[in-house]
Chain length 205, copies 2
């Protein structure tokens, strides 16, 4: 692409470094911004910069936060005995949306994935092990995605903490609510039969 | 969506005002930026701001430029007698890529589209009419997209300048090079038969 303006070219190049945004899309976005009031672009630029420079990660759970300790960890009404292990802030937001969990979170920042060069040391695993060692935690809920990387990460953490007095569980895998059997994949369906739950228990959830 | 950080929320909200970017995509982009070095976000923010605040539009053709008069209009080797009428900078870039046009451009900034509230007065049409009135221009090439809006805009401009001594043409419409007939729509195919060109002429292009 040959640009008639270096300023436009620079903006398109920077924008197209974001995942899923190519040069054409970036150019379309820039032309959109040029048609809008200047203020919109200035606000966007300021929001991006102050997010990147001023954002903090909670000292306790590693979730994104504006304070040293995030609101969830600082909430006295939440039990410190159950910790839900998740990959990133999106998972925290998704679970918080369900209003079904009143414990704390622990954000790993990713999953073990040798293909992407992410080993246990790149993740926030050691502080979780330390928390378990302290003995306050009674249960760890593994809530990573149901993928090879998720399972590997669960197992790695399990091996680190299995000698301590802590219960571990993973979120249930099975057919989605509202789904028909015929559209469910074989592995999920097979596992959902093996891991069936008492009918009375299903009435309560 | 409930965010644990106001800074993140603000950045996601600003980003999701761009066309085609929803809140989920914006959040994904922000989490990507947070994993990258700070410098990348700072550069992006600066590039956006300086593009919006410092960019200029060429006084002559209205194309985006860093100077008062763009490089194409300032180039003494290009003829001022032929003007190619286009919608925006993307069209200029596309035609420049073909290296087949050595005249100047005139960027309208859009097409007449009553549905979107865009009338002739919202576009850069009057300066084009003035250029034609001055008598230097010998030919106008309409190179807008082949849509209802494009045709309307072409016709509107044609009516404004038909009394002056200027030739008008539109870029050829027909089947794309490399396309099979069976995949070409009826209207395009029908027109390409009506507007057939001498075979000897087709050998030259």
């Amino acid at each position: 692409m040959e640009f008639s303006s270096k300023l436009l070219e620079k903006a398109v190049n920077e924008m197209s470094q974001l995942p899923g945004i190519g040069k054409r899309t970036a150019l379309r976005l820039m032309l959109h911004l040029l048609r809008q009031p200047e203020d919109q672009t200035v606000q966007l630029a300021k929001a991006l910069e102050s997010m990147r420079l001023d954002i903090k990660f909670c000292k306790s759970c590693n979730n994104i936060s504006d304070k040293e300790v995030c609101e969830i960890c600082a909430n006295p009404h939440r039990t410190k005995e159950i910790i839900c292990v998740v990959e990133d802030i999106r998972d925290v937001m998704a679970i918080e949306n369900t209003s079904s969990f009143k414990g704390l979170y622990h954000v790993l920042g990713g999953k073990i994935s040798p293909m992407d060069g992410i080993g246990p040391n790149e993740l926030n695993i050691q502080p979780l092990v330390e928390k378990v060692k302290q003995g306050i935690v009674k249960e760890l809920i593994f809530a990573l995605g149901s993928t090879m990387e998720g399972d590997t990460t669960n197992f790695y953490i399990y091996r680190q903490i299995q000698d301590y007095n802590v219960t571990t569980s993973t979120i249930a895998r099975g057919i989605s609510v509202g789904n028909e059997l015929e559209y469910t994949d074989e592995i999920t369906l097979g596992r959902s039969i093996i891991n069936r739950i008492p009918f009375e228990a299903s009435l309560k959830s």
